[in-house]
Amino acid sequence: MNLIKDGDRAIIGHDGIYKIMVVKKGKHASFAKHKFAWDACIGRSWGHTWQIQQGKLEKLDSNEACGESVVSKVLDNIQSGADNRNAADLSEKGQNLERECIMEMREEKKGEELIEKIARGNADFESKTRFTQEKFVRHKQKKHGGRIEILKPSMNLIVHQKLAVERTKGAYFDVHEFATMIAMANIHANSKVLLADHSSCFLSGAILSKLKGGSGELVSVFQGQLGDSPPHVPLQNYEFPDEVWDQLLYYPAKSLGKATISGDFELPELKDEDEDLPPQAKKQKTDTEDNKREEDKSRISRRERQEKRLKKYSRAVELMKEKLECLIIAPKHHPLPWLFMLLPFLKPSCPFVVYCDKKEPLMEIFNKLHERKSAVMLSINSVFERTVQVLPMRTHPEVHMPGNRGYVLYGISVL
């Protein structure tokens, strides 16, 4: 059985709002301004829902864990009106309780009691219909309820959490586009994957978690030059064992141009010491993925590190010469040069996907591929997704839905 341990990474939150944190015995953390101590959850199962109560975690029984249980509890002894003819308008003389007062009450009152207080503090709450009241309670419960789930990180949860954070910062792929890319690229644990990913390595993390336990390998072509490693990737949330890191290989883009023209792939030379590097280059290097990881893991010598990097480069070259079985491209740059640079390293009859948040660059690629007759099954995909609220007598699509969507070009290479 899998239980929560001190030092584990955990995904905590509720209703689609999550954070990734490290469980620390004797320490506090906070979620939505609710502060709590971790101790109560250590040694318990993953996946429970907890109530934050005066700074402590209290496990909820499964019949209480569902948000709807709060709705019925709170409204149990509250009257309701037949319709809203006498109800105050939304913005008018609504809440009688001051915000500070609510924040103070959060400290002492139990979840449902607090919500009931807030409800009663609302002008003529009892004259409103049951449906209006339920909606109100659901909303306040999300905001002030102080409930969290503590979940074991998995690829889909990590991606959901990360994408939700990133999307608030601007154009980025969303969960559906991400899912489409991973599926259409036909990735399974034994796949040989070629990747150009500049999406803060979302894709490398997800792909590696798919390759885990299989014979698959991932060749990541990164923007950099001979001797570099890819930028430090925020993959610690996955807590991959060492074997998975061995499945990650890479090769720098700046050496690829020459290699495709001459067929000769350069490899970095082993140097005894890095001392001859200018200090600036050294500084840059400490930011790279394998350095960081390995530095805090143990004191492997520079030499060994270089050897390890050389091994990753050489294996990547071997695989590129043999050609790989799927190709994924999600660059910051124009995707067309990336695709035509990497397509020769894809075996015939294998899928490729290209992500772009604009359609036009993909249309350009589509035309060129069509002209060269180098691919079939070409299509450009985007999806219109909406969430539906499903409740007895109150089912409807939600008001908010994602606006600008990205596009995924799909094709199969042919001879």
Partner: protein, 341 residues
């Protein structure tokens, strides 16, 4: 053959996908001496053995491509025995179920096996798919197909009624994830719960009608599932086409109209033009591209008048009618059942 063990060369007994166009592709099982008739003419099996996957095969009246199957291509090529799920829904289902190598997943109904292949890819090579279908003939055909695709070790098909009996007792509390695509999913939730691991797991339901979703959600809440969420995905798939807009003829040269300040821009600069074909000239063919290029050059050389030209636009076009609503996807999570832990 191994559906997920890519191989370069076609061998006897392989499942090969014959690609004619995005809307016209079908599978064949390669057998020495057999011949397959297509609209372009015959495909002789003997001639494709030893060829590379991805190569072109010339028939009498056109050519096809020989492709290695994968779940997305299979979904488009498979013989339909039922309604099936398509890639936009499938990719989301597989993602949300959190599948990875070694996991155990339960499905019902198997139907035409469109989803089953993608579920299996998610758990391949160490995991297992237990799929239940109450239509005997369909369950047999699916079992045969999975065997032909080299997936028997990863998929078991059971012929039974999932609402009455659920999955076999050996599967109890073994599943990491369960998926339903049947007319009355709300009647099977108890069995879903039985199949899922005691430490909890993921559930997904696909239903075309909102009434089924409604009842399923009520049942899920009743049985202690949390994080119940329903979404609808409508995929828009486009291909790129070239369109021609004839330029109107006002009896004078466009240059003069620009000089007079009537035309707001230098029309020649705003894009590409091709000479309009004379009446009775060879009509546009599918292979327009090369002709376009020749014609484009012609515009430059001969200084053609724009009024004799077509303005060329490349645009992304969807089909006139495409899949809109397929169904609602409902996701839910079952928390661990042991309250003491």
């Amino acid at each position: 053959m191994g559906f997920f063990e890519f191989r370069d060369t076609i061998q006897e007994n392989d499942t090969v996908i014959i690609y004619i166009s995005n809307d016209d592709l079908f599978p064949i099982t390669v057998k020495k001496g057999e011949v397959k008739q297509t609209k372009f003419g015959a495909i002789k099996h003997n001639e494709i053995i030893g060829k590379k996957f991805g190569s072109r095969y010339d028939c009498a009246r056109g050519y096809v491509f020989l492709l290695f199957p994968n779940p997305e291509i299979w979904t488009l090529a498979l013989p339909h025995r039922t309604q099936i799920l398509y890639t936009p829904d499938i990719s989301r289902i597989v993602f949300e179920l959190g599948l990875s190598n070694g996991k155990v997943v339960c499905e019902s109904g198997t139907g035409s096996g469109s989803l089953s292949h993608a579920l299996t890819r998610g758990i391949y090579p160490a995991g297992h798919l237990h799929t239940v279908e109450f239509h005997e003939e369909r369950s047999k055909k699916a079992r045969q197909e999975f065997e032909d695709h080299g997936l028997s070790k990863n998929i078991t098909v059971y012929h039974r009624d999932v609402c009455a009996e659920g999955w076999p007792a050996e599967v109890d509390h073994k599943a990491d994830a369960v998926f339903l695509d049947i007319p009355a999913p709300y009647k099977a939730i108890e069995h879903v719960k039985r199949a899922l691991k005691l430490e909890g797991g993921e559930f997904c339901n696909f239903s075309p009608c909102i009434e089924q979703v409604q009842e399923t959600c009520v049942k899920l809440r009743e049985k202690g599932f949390t994080n119940i969420k329903t979404i609808e995905c409508i995929n828009s798939q486009t291909t790129v086409k070239t369109s021609h807009f004839p330029m109107p003829d006002f009896g004078v040269d466009y240059k003069d109209l620009e000089a007079a300040g009537v035309m707001p821009t230098n029309c020649e600069k705003i894009g590409t033009y091709v000479k309009r074909l004379e009446k009775g000239a060879k009509p546009k063919t599918r292979n327009l591209k090369e002709e376009d290029e020749k014609a484009e050059n012609a515009v430059e050389k001969e200084e053609l008048k724009l009024s004799e030209c077509n303005f060329v636009v490349k645009s992304a076009l969807a089909k006139r009618s495409q899949y809109g609503h397929t169904g609602y996807l409902t996701f839910a999570r079952l928390p661990p059942r042991d309250e003491s832990l």
